[in-house]
């Protein structure tokens, strides 16, 4: 694997997440963007050739025809191409309720120290603030898959002590057994948070913990973009940058329209180190 020398932070996020994909496991991916790309990239890179994914409209293990037209990430012929099953939202949630879905992968607006996710409201609910779209499928993913992976940007407004509104459950108030007391399936919960700058897991007390940072940022820079300061792993590793091989697959087979390219900062390898371009 050849470390890449020029890439976008969104691309880095997908590559980083792809490396987390566990072979032979089933993923419920939210929407049709980064989460789906992460599984497909892991398949094609051979990290997890036998990982499969499920979408909210009941597409199971497809061989999607990329790219999709805007918004046509579900209930569309290209997204569902050569799937092993076409179901509905209820088949998708049944599989997750039964414990048959290993991982969920989500995007979000806001996440807190206990991994709770907000996609509903910023401000003081219900009246003083800004309304967003609601949990969509994320609530059922975060509630019922065994482990949840969150893909998001590193932004201090996103990493907060307590989300303004729990749209999808993390460890709730963080107490032991809080999820079970709320009626959620035992033994489930947040597992990783991935941003272009950092990787987090959850410690034994179910608190968000920084475990790695990207090569182009320092730990302090990451912490500056966390309104809530996460727990710190004993050792904070430096995350491997995207590889050329990953980017070739990603750009030529997955994000073939280059939509990611407009969406994040560019990183380049210059003078022996990675830096933000321009």
């Amino acid at each position: 694997m050849t470390p890449a020398t020029s890439f976008n932070e969104r691309e880095a996020l997908v590559c980083q997440t792809a490396r987390l994909i566990d072979d032979g496991k089933l993923y419920w991916v939210a929407g049709g963007g980064g989460p789906m790309y992460a599984v497909l990239l892991a398949q094609r890179m051979g990290y997890a050739p036998n990982a499969q994914y499920l979408t909210e409209d009941g597409v199971l293990a497809p061989q999607p025809l990329l790219p999709f037209d805007p918004i046509q990430t579900m209930v569309s012929a290209r997204a569902g191409y050569r799937a092993l099953q076409w179901g509905t939202m209820n088949t998708a949630q049944d599989y997750a309720a039964l414990g048959l879905v290993d991982y969920g992968i989500l995007n979000t607006l806001q996440v807190d120290q206990w991994g709770n996710i907000n996609s509903t409201f910023l401000g003081e609910y219900p009246d003083a603030g800004r309304r967003f779209g609601g949990p969509g499928g994320a609530d059922s993913i975060a509630a019922m898959c065994w482990r949840t992976i969150l893909m998001t940007d590193q932004d201090r407004r996103k990493f907060v002590d307590r989300v303004d509104f729990i749209s999808s459950p993390g460890f709730l108030d963080g107490s032991e057994g809080a999820r079970e007391r709320a009626g959620l399936p035992a033994g489930t919960g947040p597992w990783r948070v991935v941003t272009p700058w950092a990787m987090y897991d959850y410690d034994a007390d179910r608190r968000l913990r920084l475990i790695g940072v990207s090569a182009w940022v320092t730990v302090d820079e990451v912490l500056a973009e966390c309104e809530h300061k996460p727990q710190m792993a004993a050792e904070i590793c430096v995350l491997e940058p995207p590889s050329e091989e990953e980017l070739v697959v990603y750009r030529s087979e997955l994000d073939v329209r280059g939509q990611t390219a407009d969406a994040g900062a560019w990183i380049v390898y210059q003078d022996g180190r990675y830096v933000r371009a321009g």
Binding site: P70, A77, P126, G134, D139, G183
Partner: protein
């Protein structure tokens, strides 16, 4: 952060016996034709104040032509089951049709939406896509409530009608949801016969449950096919005639969305409606695409045109699995 205490939340009360009595008297179990145009269907079966659900949405194999007709007929005070939806809720709000919504997810908002919320012209109740779908599933089974393994512990739960009871067998805390029996459902299908027997190919959200759960059901259909044709493969007929009140022939009925396996979406139109939403120009969008025309067919004729329609079919290159 939440400051207000969750109120006793308003929700559409499940009344399984009331539903039964309604359908006994109103749904036609005889195989009688029920084909009509969109104007007649909406005039007859969508009333002010109705709880309305659409399956899928304005941009994804949804009943887009029926949504436009509801706006054209200026229904008022609708309560929307807003799961898995993009601009549809925004259009209905802008047009003054919707005053309440049970939210699973609605993508794309904009200034008009914010004004409606601020002015109290719109009330929202909190759910999730899966929870809304389960509420419909419960109704489709004729029961009053259903347990779920999701939703517990969220703030949506607190601000919704969901409750927690003790599982009568295990004693464990169990979230239960009230069944949702909508007043009216609009669903776009690939094929229907004149009686309402219908097929959807490919994935969906909850078209079968939605059809069973709703007091009134309007289907828009890409194709009207002969009943004998449907009898050749009964395993594909998922919506039975006796839950359907109206069958509206509607080629390109999902436009500007795709009808999977038949035609692609129109990305330019998708961009236009998203742009109108965020730039507070939905009035102009509605004027052009809804009010300036008398029907779906007139819209296709005047604002879409043959060239585009041919292109949409040409761009949909997948057929596998979308035919009987």
């Amino acid at each position: 952060m939440q400051t207000a205490m969750p109120p006793a939340v308003e929700y559409l009360r499940p009344d399984p016996d009331g539903f039964r009595a309604y359908v006994r008297d109103h749904k036609q179990r005889a195989l009688t034709p029920r084909v009509m145009d969109e104007h007649e269907a909406v005039a007859k079966f969508v009333a002010d104040g109705d709880y309305l659900v659409y399956d899928c949405n304005y941009l994804q194999r949804g009943p887009a032509s029926l949504i436009r007709e509801i706006i054209r007929q200026q229904r008022r005070d609708l309560w929307i089951g807003a799961k898995f939806t993009y601009v549809a809720l925004g259009l209905l709000i802008e047009a003054g049709c919707a005053s309440r919504a049970d939210v699973g997810f609605f993508g794309s908002r904009g200034p008009g939406f914010s004004r409606a919320l601020r002015d109290g012209r719109l009330k929202l109740y909190e759910y999730s896509n899966a929870v809304m779908t389960l509420r419909l599933r419960a109704a489709a089974q004729g029961i009053g409530f259903i347990p779920t393994r999701s939703f517990g512990g969220t703030d949506g739960y607190l601000w919704s009608a969901a409750r927690t009871i003790e599982d009568p067998f295990t004693g464990l805390p169990t979230v239960v949801l009230p069944a949702l029996y909508p007043d009216v459902a609009i669903i776009h299908v690939h094929q229907a016969d004149v009686y309402g027997n219908a097929r959807v190919f490919g994935t969906g959200i909850a078209h079968i449950d939605t059809a069973l759960a709703s007091k009134k059901v309007i289907l828009s259909a890409e194709e009207i096919v002969d009943t004998e044709e449907l009898r050749r493969n009964p395993g594909l007929n998922h919506i039975p005639w006796f839950v359907v009140d109206a069958v509206v022939p509607a080629q390109y009925g999902a436009y500007p969305g795709s009808c999977q396996g038949v035609y692609a979406s129109d990305p330019a139109h998708v961009a236009e409606v998203f742009g109108a939403m965020t730039q507070d120009k939905l009035g102009a969008y509605l004027e052009k695409w809804v009010y300036s025309v008398g029907s779906h067919e007139e819209m296709l004729e005047r604002h879409v045109g043959v060239k585009k329609l041919l292109e949409l079919r040409r761009r949909e290159t997948v057929r596998e699995g979308y035919t009987a």
